[in-house]
Symmetry: C2
Subunit: 406 residues, 2 copies
């Protein structure tokens, strides 16, 4: 029989374009069941829980909830706190005090780990609690999942960006370096390959954090492409690293900021792109070298979303509630590809997801280590959704010259 | 009576999202008139003319032309060459050799100047030639024009970006600096103000190249906002300069690249944003400070376009051909606002536009010099087009605390 009590939803980690679809899915579904007496939202993730900062989403209008669902970024805001056991104990105390019996945490692998520990706390004192981790991350780095909600939309933004860059660089030529988010997994950077429509379109080179980055090989690659096309468009993961595992940005620049997790800040700065551009200028003697770091635009730009991603993010929220209510189970929701293209959602043990990272499999990376394979293109295409505008070139014939060569 | 001969179209300067609408407008309209015997397109602007690199656009399919019209960036590619008198003479020689009688140059104020000199060359030898400058620039800096084709779409991209940034920064807090294109005119940066929906939305501060930028005042502004909201979102023009007219990026950084016009490269590098972020971190002791430089995305991203901008860019191309054909006149097309919101297109002497720069008028800038006025919001709103998605926040009530404060 279903537990009776309140529902609590929290969002963790970086925002995505569709994370609020999942929120709406959970809220709307949980409001259908009498046993789910209230639906609360924690403000700023786990911080909001320990501080008892809750919104009563039972009193949110459905209309506004649908508007919020279409709004990117975390409507409940987020946190970068990664709770330890003590913190998880505090979380549990609050859940118990508010008679919360269903805890849905929308997040990545760190959030899954929090769900795991909170579930253990409840078990210790025999407090009946349904705990469900619902996936989201633009990095697409959760194990067991074919892909994660949020990835398709961020990938679509990256594709739209590189489509434009192809057109822009072609007009004036030169070298262009676009730096894409992704500390450990290169899925988002790899998405740029979809921008190649015409044979000489970029990105001509794609560098991922899965492989060692060698500056010398990079320069050889760039020169080869530039000599051939008079231009070279490059997609680089912010997380590319050298043979010792050191982020390349730290080997090229000093005085970088360290974030709360002890990692070098890779986003919110143009350091990596600027440093690589400088190498290309100085070492290859190419004068027009530009770099853009796509930064926060990739995960929160308003107006670029994959409809497939939206739908899946909504459904996985609904399914989370349905499984917790009807099946009385804990775990982590996962997306599995069942056809071309169809998916289903399954529940796995949260410990199978927690604190683990999926990276690009070998079959998605070309053997030169500077581009993707056709297997990857097949993998990603449906995730980008429908209605993606495709650029077109003029096809008119050349006019014979009258003065030159006479 | 209309001249009989060929039509030549070229595109100059930086690309926009709708410049190919203007191209399509000229091509489709010119193909209606028997006296316009062929319609050529010059590849890489004036470079393509002197090298006789022409496409025969009479043989472009209408369907593909419509696809190209929807594609951002210059389909005929571009050039950064600013022709001197000798170069304009060479251009004229080629026009004459190909019996070109209509020359349409889509570009900014530099392109207008080229049109002016080419017209003079033709007049010198009594060669009958219709020369028309058709405006485009994301900078919106052409005099006499209410606004320019390309501006509305780039502005829409900037708005969509800051809407997302508002949501993203709100979730985790901190200071965010977004660097927007605009060397002399701040219109594009100012557009960010439209992203403010809720009272505490950013951008809280907007800095334009029209006013002197004082680092000390900037830091005071940032601190005031940050103390109030726990966050501060800032839009900065890449062209902000100090009292002596020196770009701020050069006062904060050394070893910057000089472009073909002798100007410091402001785009394609994160230098300005990173330098300002460093100042905020070091001087104000705020730990989470991020900056993004929107770079080339603002002018070529595929999938963000204003329908108003599209329509006007198309119409102004058509009108250019109609005026040249039916009225037998030379000049520069301009856009005038005639109602709220309606426009008409007029022809002015190209010398009235050439090599002149419009900047933000005083009535569009607030008296503190760190934001825009309501007059500017009224001015820009229609240019952004329809269907702009507006973010929504949750409106649910707070839940009373049970543990804290008891």
């Amino acid at each position: 029989m279903a537990l009776k009590g309140k529902v609590l939803i929290a969002q963790g980690g970086g925002p995505t374009a569709v994370i609020n679809q999942t929120l709406a899915g959970i809220v709307l579904e949980s409001r259908k069941y009498g046993e789910m007496t209230r639906t609360y939202g924690a403000i700023h993730g786990v911080e909001g829980i320990v501080n008892e900062n809750f919104l009563d989403l039972t009193q949110e209008t459905s209309y506004n909830l649908e508007q919020v669902a279409m709004t990117p970024s975390s409507a409940l805001w987020s946190t970068r706190i990664k709770p330890d056991s003590k913190y998880c104990h505090d979380i549990f105390q609050v859940l118990q005090a508010h008679d919360i019996r269903y805890f849905f945490y929308i997040g990545g692998n760190d959030s899954a780990d929090t769900v795991r520990i909170v579930a253990e706390e409840a078990q210790k004192v025999n407090y009946a609690l349904r705990t469900v981790h619902v996936p989201k991350t633009i990095d697409n780095d959760l194990v067991l999942n074919d892909h994660t909600p949020g990835y398709g939309s961020a990938a679509r933004f990256v594709v739209q960006t590189f489509m434009g860059i192809n057109l822009d660089v072609r007009a004036i030529k030169g070298v262009y370096i676009g730096v894409v988010m992704g500390r450990n997994a290169g899925f988002l950077t790899a998405a740029s390959a979809i921008a190649q429509k015409y044979p000489d379109d970029g990105p001509h080179l794609i560098y991922l954090p899965e492989l060692e980055f060698h500056l010398e090989k990079f320069l050889v690659d760039v020169k080869r492409i530039y000599d051939r096309y008079g231009m070279c468009i490059i997609a680089v993961s912010e997380g590319i690293r050298d043979a010792s595992g050191m982020p390349i940005v730290t080997t090229l620049r000093k005085n970088l900021e360290i974030d709360g997790h002890g990692n070098v800040s890779l986003s919110g700065t143009g350091a990596l792109g600027d440093s690589l551009a400088q190498q290309v200028k100085e070492r290859l003697g190419i004068s027009r070298v530009r770099s853009d770091t796509f930064g926060y635009l990739q995960r929160s730009f308003v107006g670029s979303v994959s409809d497939i991603d939206q739908r899946e993010a909504r459904e996985i929220g609904e399914r989370a509630v349905q499984l917790a209510y009807w099946n009385n189970v804990n775990g982590s929701l996962t997306i599995h590809r069942t056809g071309n293209y169809s998916v289903d959602y399954r529940l796995v043990g949260v410990e199978e997801i927690a604190a683990k990272t999926k990276v690009m499999p070998d079959e998605f990376i070309n053997k030169d280590g500077n581009h993707v394979t056709e297997a990857f293109l097949l993998y990603i295409r449906p995730l980008l959704g429908s209605g993606l505008q495709i650029p077109s070139h003029l096809m008119a014939p050349r006019v014979p010259k009258l003065l030159i060569g006479k």
